[in-house]
């Protein structure tokens, strides 16, 4: 009993690096900015009043009680602001708040604004949204409520933070445990389907026209390959929560999950989703698995550089 209590205490009170939250903020806002620019050419198709799905339809079929672009447009109508102008206003506010969040200027305010603007856009565009929006929404919510501006931000530079260490640890743990619950649920749900046991899931996914980036006809003759890919996905996701916290397996598990998302990005054409998941995993567990990752302090690398210098391979001084 004492051991369990000490374990829980260790989990929530062991000091975590503030850089973890700084990296999380920069990764999330940087990603959301890239996503915004990637989608910009088709922005009005996804979110415009006369886009692929008119606002009235997407609102009528929405199951959430969150504000939509139609709702905001109706609020702005007395000011003679057109529905199209409403999209531009919301998009501009989203863009500015993401830039503010990225540089850590008025971080809490910018995080809240980015989160709200994303909710508005996503409520209207929910028919076109997939996993990437789910995780952008979650991450922006964390940028609003967690002290992500405590490091690598203009706010921290102007006024060094006085946040107790246990709140930094709590913040990091929430993100970590969210990922753990998500992967456990994914692993269990996948394991309930026969396609993930006989390799057909990978075969079907990679044969589908929408994901068909490479020819994998040869896999039908070597079924052990899709089988191994499916089984390894089940293992990596189902045991993620335990393995990522265990000292002996944490490094290999982080590398495995990043590889899995890189595979999804490259071979299934879901680059945005794969990229975001890699960033979230790196932010949540990068420093936990590879200490000093965010402080850029790698003693072994410094030793190698010293060795190179000693043998005249490196003439100039390089600071790491």
């Amino acid at each position: 009993m004492k051991k369990i209590y000490s374990g829980i205490k260790q989990l929530f009170f062991k000091q975590e690096a503030t850089e973890t939250l700084g990296f999380f903020r920069i990764a999330v806002s940087g990603f959301a900015l890239i996503q915004l620019f990637v989608l910009l050419p088709d922005w009005m198709s996804f979110y415009g009043p006369k886009g692929l799905l008119p606002w009235e339809i997407s609102d009528a079929l929405s199951t959430t009680q969150t504000p939509s672009l139609l709702f905001i447009s109706n609020l702005l109508q007395p000011l003679r602001i057109t529905p199209e102008a409403t999209v531009y206003i919301i998009t501009t506010a989203y863009l500015i708040s993401l830039i503010g969040l990225l540089i850590g200027f008025k971080t809490r305010l910018m995080g809240a604004l980015a989160w709200l603007m994303h909710i508005v856009l996503n409520t209207t565009g929910h028919f076109t949204a997939y996993g990437v929006e789910t995780f952008t929404h979650i991450a922006l919510f964390y940028c609003t409520v967690l002290p992500v501006g405590c490091c690598w931000s203009i706010d921290a530079r102007n006024r060094p933070h006085k946040i107790p260490g246990y709140l930094i640890t709590l913040s990091v743990r929430i993100i970590q445990l969210h990922l753990c619950i998500m992967y456990l649920a994914c692993g269990i749900e996948k394991s309930m389907g026969s396609q993930w046991w006989n390799g057909e899931a990978i075969w079907i996914a990679m044969q589908q026209d929408q994901f068909h980036n490479v020819n994998i006809d040869w896999m039908a003759s070597v079924p052990i390959v899709p089988n191994l890919l499916c089984w390894s996905t089940l293992v990596v996701e189902s045991f993620y929560a335990a393995a990522i916290f265990w000292g002996k397996t944490k490094k290999i598990w982080l590398i495995s999950i990043i590889s899995m998302h890189a595979f999804i990005g490259i071979f299934l054409g879901l680059q945005l989703f794969g990229g975001l998941m890699i960033l979230l995993n790196l932010a949540a567990f990068g420093n936990h698995c590879f200490p000093n990752l965010f402080t850029f302090n790698f003693p072994r690398l410094q030793t190698v550089i010293q060795l190179f210098k000693k043998h005249g391979i490196l003439k100039t001084s390089i600071g790491v």
């Binding site: 990637v38 989608l39 910009l40 050419p41 088709d42 198709s45 006369k50 692929l52 799905l53 008119p54 339809i57 079929l61 959430t64 009680q65 969150t66 909710i119 028919f127 076109t128 997939y130 996993g131 789910t134 929404h137 979650i138 919510f141 107790p164 246990y166 709590l170 743990r173 929430i174 445990l177 619950i181 998500m182 992967y183 456990l184 649920a185 994914c186 749900e189 996948k190 309930m192 389907g193 026969s194 396609q195 993930w196 057909e200 899931a201 075969w203 079907i204 996914a205 044969q207 589908q208 026209d209 929408q210 006809d217 896999m219 039908a220 003759s221 079924p223 899709p226 054409g269 680059q271």
Partner: protein
Amino acid sequence: MPLKHKIYFGLAALHLVMIALFSTHFADWSNRDNSAVKALSVAGNYTGSNNIFSFFAPGLSDQPYVVYTVKYKNGTEKFIDLKGTSPDFTNRINNIYGYLTLPEARSVLSASLAQSLLQHYPDAEKIRVAMVIQQIPDMDAFRNGERNHWEFWFHRDFGVDTTLLTQR
């Protein structure tokens, strides 16, 4: 530790419990009319704690796709494969096509897509929205010579005012 921080710990615990609950399809098996469940769902919409994580689970279904044919007033026809400009357009439009497999959503979504397309073709008098499904043989069948093919699912014809003309 000040009381405020103790409350933070309590809220964090509640948030994580909600994530765990909703990931087990809580919204499906709980009493939806219960006001506490409703309040949790609304809170979850804002905090992101009410998600189901069923990515490619329990398995993958056949892929739907939609093609469009516009008929002009002079009788000529044009086939349209809707492609966007951004690299993520395909992933997003396929999401909409996925909803078209639901019979109850089919009418309103196909009419919306027809209306959206007709905006770009002002000379058109009619548009056909046709859905096809990609059938993928399993690995055994593929080894025995079966190949991927598309099967017709349904079509709907709409006039310029998006009235339904014909359907099959």
